[in-house]
Symmetry: C2
Subunit: 332 residues, 2 copies
């Protein structure tokens, strides 16, 4: 029930925590029901991703990391599509409205919003008796017709991936007391790095233009490299050969694989990487790798697109094919 | 866990139920992470509204009505902003994935999507152990700079509202066994009409262009006419005088007020109307009313914008001011 002398609780919650994030003129300071995205003939790229407490993040994760993850999983999609961030809308399903949770959540969201030039355009807050959920729809801009899709991969294209693979899955393993937690019991720095990769993705928006300039197809690795590459190949009507020895692994992940704590198949199927996976004509792969170097982001060639419709093959250093029990993480 | 021989469960759920709704070329048949909204210099109007089981709809509501409500509360925002629907993205937080729920949900969503020319552009399905939630972000188009805001109301403007007010709140009362349920025990047609207004809003998109042509400010009445008018006045820096005798009530609502089953204050503060409330210069109010007549939608003048900053006054037939204990329904 609203107090007739005061704006409704939802309005004051929005004004208090989220209005400072609504810096774009099209957000109208969040006083309207709707926002305006202006366009001068650009295409607007739209992506939507939700994170649910207990499913995509842990109830014990700090609120600032939850905010960053909720926004960054969407920024990562924009990066893979070659789009420059233009803004986002937020739906927040909350059990309560404690300042101790909302304040660090909103502050971190605001900081990321500024750093990635992606202002808040509007939103909706609803109450829920169940787990909290943050649903974000993010917008980007590309020149007309230039969004990088999934269907353009061609035989001969090199397969490139940014950053490292598998760290986030290992971070979740550390947080939930899995095998990695035991093996790294005395290595707090490695554990912190892995947990950080799980909680706070590093979307590669700095490479969006290079991806747009060079990639024939791209997506962000969110459900596991093996599964996401399989989807890209299916959409393009091609197959792939991945040299597993070339997979970019962090020192911590390499150590755990070398010590037989985890197998590389687990890293290939682990979720939450939020790296860009793309296919690039051979003549242009050096240019994308160089763009990565200039931006301080590793870009690694891990294989080649080949003709055919069979599922991608993952080959070890001896040319033997790995058997993947699963390709990706699914929440169903 | 996904079956490596098959697409992930989420992918097959999307393909089975929602791909048929993704008729816009910018949706890429839902095979991509992102969609494209093309624009030829139009402004893109963005609005987002979520509905939560047990909060915005009842767990016992039929899935087809839940789908329609989730989309229509957003279509209603577009109508009030003077925008033509361009598409929407959907986040569906589900506890399960029973065909008996998803099939009628998707079919009704598809039907509304076609009827309102608002295609599905993309989405995300997530699992939740808690109440189900449907979050929709909808897009509309207006000529550059022509979105109807909340800040343009000027003293002397007439206040117009579409349809009838209070029926949805009475429908909820019927469903939850309130006073209206008792009073209408033997009037099944009236009960059905009220319940239908609660479950399935009637967004006034047919009047969007007339609103854009004539209104100085507008919003859709979602949280109660009294509270929403108060917000519009605050945003415009004006006050208002509403003649309560002119409020458009259905026969069922009028009867309940006349019988002292409910008071008009309850209808003024009831939620879920999803009618357009707008302010129009006096010389143009007849044109908007005529546009409503042509479209088969009642448009009623209920009062006048006046100078000042005090809260809007609601006057009965004798010129006495009503005392509103609350202005609107708040979920917090």
């Amino acid at each position: 029930m609203a107090d007739p002398q005061n704006p409704s609780a939802e309005d004051s919650l929005i004004a208090r925590y989220f209005k400072p994030l609504a810096t774009d003129p099209g957000a109208f300071g969040l006083v309207d029901d709707a926002a305006v995205l202006s366009s001068s003939g650009d295409d607007i790229v739209v992506t939507t991703d939700a994170v649910v407490e207990g499913v995509h993040y842990l109830a014990t994760d700090p609120p600032d990391t939850i905010a960053r993850k909720a926004l960054r999983v969407n920024l990562s999609d924009l990066a893979a599509k070659g789009a420059a961030p233009a803004g986002f809308v937020l739906t927040l399903a909350l059990r309560g409205k404690e300042d101790s949770w909302l304040r660090p959540f909103a502050d971190a969201l605001g900081e990321d919003s500024r750093n990635f030039a992606c202002p808040l355009l509007g939103g909706d807050t609803v109450s829920t008796p169940g787990p909290q959920m943050i649903s974000i729809t993010a917008f980007g801009r590309v020149p007309k017709g230039r969004m990088v899709g999934r269907t353009g991969a061609r035989p001969g294209d090199r397969i490139l991936v940014t950053g490292t693979i598998g760290d986030a899955a290992l971070g979740l393993d550390v947080l939930t007391g899995g095998a990695a937690a035991g093996a790294l019991a005395s290595e707090s720095q490695a554990k912190e790095m892995l947990v950080s990769r799980y909680r706070v993705p590093l979307p590669r928006n700095v490479l969006a233009q290079a991806v747009r300039d060079h990639a024939t197809a791209a997506l962000d690795v969110s459900d596991g490299l093996a599964g996401d590459l399989t989807k890209l190949c299916a959409a393009s009507g091609v197959s792939a050969r991945v040299d597993v020895a070339n997979l970019p692994l962090s020192a911590a992940a390499s150590g755990l694989v070398a010590g037989n704590v985890v197998c590389v198949e687990t890293l290939l199927a682990g979720g939450d990487d939020y790296e860009v996976l793309c296919t690039v004509p051979p003549a242009q792969s050096d240019a994308l790798i160089a763009a990565g170097q200039a931006a301080g982001v590793a870009v690694t060639a891990i294989g080649t697109i080949v003709a055919g419709r069979e599922r991608p093959r993952f080959l070890d250093g001896q040319g033997h094919e790995l058997t993947l029990k699963r390709l990706s993480y699914s929440h169903f």
